[in-house]
């Protein structure tokens, strides 16, 4: 089973100031938690200012995965990195709301491109506010 977990490890790619994570598998709870800490470690290691999490392939987000994503956004914010969730399928969005799960503080964008723009804008705003 440990091997299995290892095989399914979700890759995190760094481009510029951002980390890009594309979730391509149906995650069980442990894998979701593992991804959460993996991303935080990567933020620490690289000093990334933003994280894009692409969930366009995910056919289902239940309360656990939803909670992992919103927890992840709060944790990253404390580490001075913004998280944007991109590509949520309409059926997933409908189901999440019906389930009663709110994801406060989670920024979302329709796709990777918009998500990237969102992060870049935010980074620029931060730069300006320094002066």
């Amino acid at each position: 089973m440990n091997n299995d977990l290892h095989e399914k490890r979700i890759p995190i790619i760094k481009i510029g100031n951002f980390l890009i994570v594309s979730i391509q598998v149906d995650m069980h709870d442990k894998l979701a938690l593992q991804l959460q800490s993996q991303i935080l470690q990567e933020i620490e290691k690289t000093g990334a200012k933003g994280v894009l999490i692409d969930i366009s392939v995910l056919e289902m987000v239940d309360s656990f995965i939803g909670r992992m994503l919103s927890g992840m956004a709060s944790m990253a914010a404390i580490m001075d990195a913004a998280v944007v969730i991109v590509g949520m399928q309409p059926a997933v969005a409908i189901t999440l709301v019906e389930l009663g799960l709110e994801m406060p503080g989670v920024d979302t964008a329709l796709n990777m491109e918009y998500g990237m723009e969102m992060l870049e804008r935010r980074l620029n705003d931060d730069d300006i506010s320094l002066y």
Partner: protein, 141 residues
Amino acid sequence: MLGLTSDINWETLSKHLIDSENNIVEVRQLVRYHAKQLSMGIIDQTRITTAVSELLRNMYNYGGGGEVLIEKGIVDDKISLIITCTDHGSGIEDLELAMSDGYTSGNGMGYGLPGAKRLVDRFEIKSELNMGTIVRVMKWK
């Protein structure tokens, strides 16, 4: 199974043991497959899959695992997918409380049962202290 809707004409599609997190992923994918076979739309497929995922997690975390039965049959003149989750855990002491939004007995956020109920067309639950819990959910085609 007293108190739960049942019918001998229902057709068993599959039966599974839940004893690991991997099982949960496999079974919820299978539920989606069966929902698709019944030609449910993508939103209903997602609703029933998500509801079952919540139930399986409850069963695994609090009921020590258990069995899942996937059936199809006619309920109230409608073709439905019927999923029954049975565990032999400690049972739920206060069902009304467990079914209320935001209540949690463990490390969850309390969306499990009431959330699952909102996503299906019929939700039935029976629980006996120290005997276990049976949850049966149905989604019309």
